[in-house]
């Protein structure tokens, strides 16, 4: 069981001078601290991101993983000032990128960073490409805007970029419109556009989710090559633990707007310490494991983000929950117990009041004799999906 310190360690966790979760030593490229994002609408306030902190080192790839509604995409959009206007807003936090706090920059300054030093690619390239402009025009526009070069020079660069991302006959395809490209080609074109100004950070939001698996392999291969060639850092947002396994240096696992686990990808996938991460990995059928008789799902469903969620957001679905989980949100701290020695070395952090042991993680349930998940206090009504 865990020896997580009680009290409000959350504050110290947001101290910007502390390098978090095994980040590379030195100045981080991006440093997100205590980010809060809210959406208002239909008389409800949805608190989509509830205190998110992480660092990305130069050239590093972080996999931000979680399911729908976990806040992974929203948190990234908020950094770039791309939240829907009048609906979503950042209510607290900072995001320091190369010395500037993105969350407090005026729009014109932010615009100069966005697309140039931080670029973004999305799940659906068709909705992020302009259907009435040629692919070439859309790439040259970015180059002209941010680089101030001539049209002829920008065009030459655009052809080189399309060539770089593996579009055959780039010099002629540059005059095509987005609908003339296949799904995989559009994703390549969008990557070319994103890379046109050689950003130091690429935010990739589910870049392969809409693609077939063989095309996904092509795009991941391409991103892997470009990442090395350009030395850029990548924030990869995905729900797919397989995709991050071969691509991310570190993982940040989100649940209900918070980080529940942070650390090297290899460590988290092989030795998950949070009950949610353990549950996710156990619920997947895997090609690299023998067929199981039945899968082990996580019971219930994610919480309503319009509610206050004072305690641990995973408590209603958790087999390890303790009384404290109903009232106090656990802070993100170094993994404890038998993991502590390794965790201190690699920076494996977990937000859990009652950390499962390795043996329990394997079994998928608490093994302490007589342990029962803490029943909800009378004041709480829990809606659980019946299975």
């Amino acid at each position: 069981m865990s020896q997580a310190p009680a009290g409000n360690a959350d504050r110290s966790a947001h101290d910007p001078t502390i390098i978090r979760g095994g980040a590379r030593p030195g100045t981080p490229l991006l440093s997100v601290r205590d980010l809060h994002v809210e959406f208002a609408g239909r008389g409800r306030v949805v608190r989509a991101v509830r205190g998110l902190s992480y660092d990305i080192g130069p050239g590093e790839t972080i996999g931000l993983v979680g399911e729908s509604g976990s806040g992974k995409s929203v948190s990234a959009l908020s950094l770039l000032g791309l939240l829907p206007k009048h609906v979503g807003k950042v209510t607290a936090g900072s995001a320091v990128f190369q010395g500037q706090d993105l969350l407090h920059l005026p729009e014109d300054k932010l615009r100069r960073i966005r697309g140039a030093r931080i670029a973004m690619i999305f799940q659906d390239p068709l909705s992020s490409l302009n259907p009435v402009l040629t692919i070439g025009r859309q790439i040259t526009e970015a180059i002209e805007t941010h680089r101030g070069v001539s049209i002829r020079e920008a065009r030459k660069r655009a052809v080189a970029l399309l060539d770089l991302v593996g579009i055959p006959a780039a010099a002629s395809r540059i005059n095509d419109y987005p609908h003339q490209f296949s799904g995989g080609m559009r994703q390549r074109a969008m990557i070319a556009m994103a890379l046109s100004c050689e950003p130091s950070l690429l935010v990739a939001d589910e870049p392969t989710t809409a693609l077939d698996v063989t095309i996904q392999a092509q795009i991941l291969e391409l991103l892997r090559r470009l990442r090395t060639e350009l030395g850029m850092a990548v924030l990869l947002i995905t729900h797919d633990l397989g995709v991050v396994a071969g691509f991310a240096d570190r993982l940040a696992v989100m649940y209900a707007g918070r980080l529940v686990e942070l650390g090297p990808a290899e460590t988290i996938l092989a030795d998950p310490a949070h009950p949610y991460t353990i549950g996710l990995l156990r619920s997947l059928p895997r090609l690299d494991r023998p067929r199981q008789a039945a899968l082990t799902p996580i019971e219930g469903s994610p919480p309503d983000l319009a509610s206050s969620l004072d305690g641990c957001p995973f408590a209603p679905r958790c087999a390890w929950r303790v009384d404290r989980g109903w009232t106090d949100a656990p802070p993100l701290v170094l993994a404890g117990g038998e993991r502590l020695a390794d965790a201190a070395l690699v920076g494996h952090e977990v937000a859990c009041h009652n950390q499962p042991t390795r043996e329990e993680a394997l079994a998928g349930l608490p093994l302490t004799p007589g342990f029962l998940p803490a029943p909800p206090p009378d004041s709480l009504v829990i809606e659980e999906e019946v299975v």
Binding site: S68, L241, E266, D271, L284, P285, L287
Partner: protein, 379 residues
Amino acid sequence: MSPAPASTAAGSATIAPAGGNGPDGPLLTVKDLQVYFPILTGVLRRRTGWVKAVDGVSFHIDRGETLGLVGESGSGKTTIGRTIVRIMQPLEGSIHLGGSDLLALRGEDLRRRRRRFQMVFQDPYSSLDPRQTVGEILAEPLRVHNLASGKARQARVVELLDLVGLEASFVERYPHEFSGGQRQRIGIARALAVEPELIVCDEPISALDVSIQAQVINLLERLQADLGLTYLFIAHDLAVVRHIADRVAVMYLGKIVEVAPSDLLYQQPLHPYTVALLSAVPVPDARTERSRRRIILRGDIPSPANPPTGCRFHTRCWLRERLKNPEICATTDPPLAPIPQATPDQTVACHFASELNEHRPRDVVPEVEETPVIAPVQG
């Protein structure tokens, strides 16, 4: 019948000896199925070509069995499912369910026979009528097929909800009040209402979050065991299909390229496309992923309106490249048949399937490790 002699040969290879029509034969037998969509152009909407969505497909499913149908977008897998449940009309071919010819059914006969085959759709958001309560959604098939009325109908609705793990109190609620996973349960309950023998599941979990997917997969498996259902499980996720299916058929551009019992297909794939597909699936293990090599297929799937000649995969085939591009691949469509080196229940449509193993690069398909699911790393 089929104009393509090759696909006729392919058909006979997968049909069980019982012939498909006796009580002990397969529940579903599909033979030489062709589903083409016309390409209409100009003001006069003249037909200028065909999209060959399904082009000569034969397979069978035994009673109580799950056949997984996998393939990428445009492979024709969804069209096959829709043709079986008679939403789409094939150009050629036959579909027999428990001995009766589904394609011969018309009007009232067809409507009555629909009880025996049902479909579960991918999108639990658009496949439920938002203006009907859950009770009404589930009562409708009972009313249409005269299965129960009055109190008995209400009791059956509650029973159906219970069957898929939903509370009886949900009857009065509307679809929008439910999560994706719960809606998919309602969709499954609706399919079960008429006590079908065959359920076509078209990507039933791909719209759901991972933690919810496992709940629905377990539900489908439990229902199959309890009710003796037969499934055609259409999906693009190979790991999910290996888990749920007894046998798997792999499709590429309107044709089945390989059929095999699940474990066999993953341990010993015989078609170069199956190998490439398996090599492309990432597994959630950082060490495996970093050490693994991949076969990256070049380019996109060609258009089904203008498929390549001969073997449809030959334009992207890594095996053909290693064999120095033999001419036969571009000229002759290989039949789906067993090969001497493998068991007869594994069939493959490749001229060079028997040479695949000596040319297949190592480490492209993840090794199945007998180690526990979660193993501590050394720091």
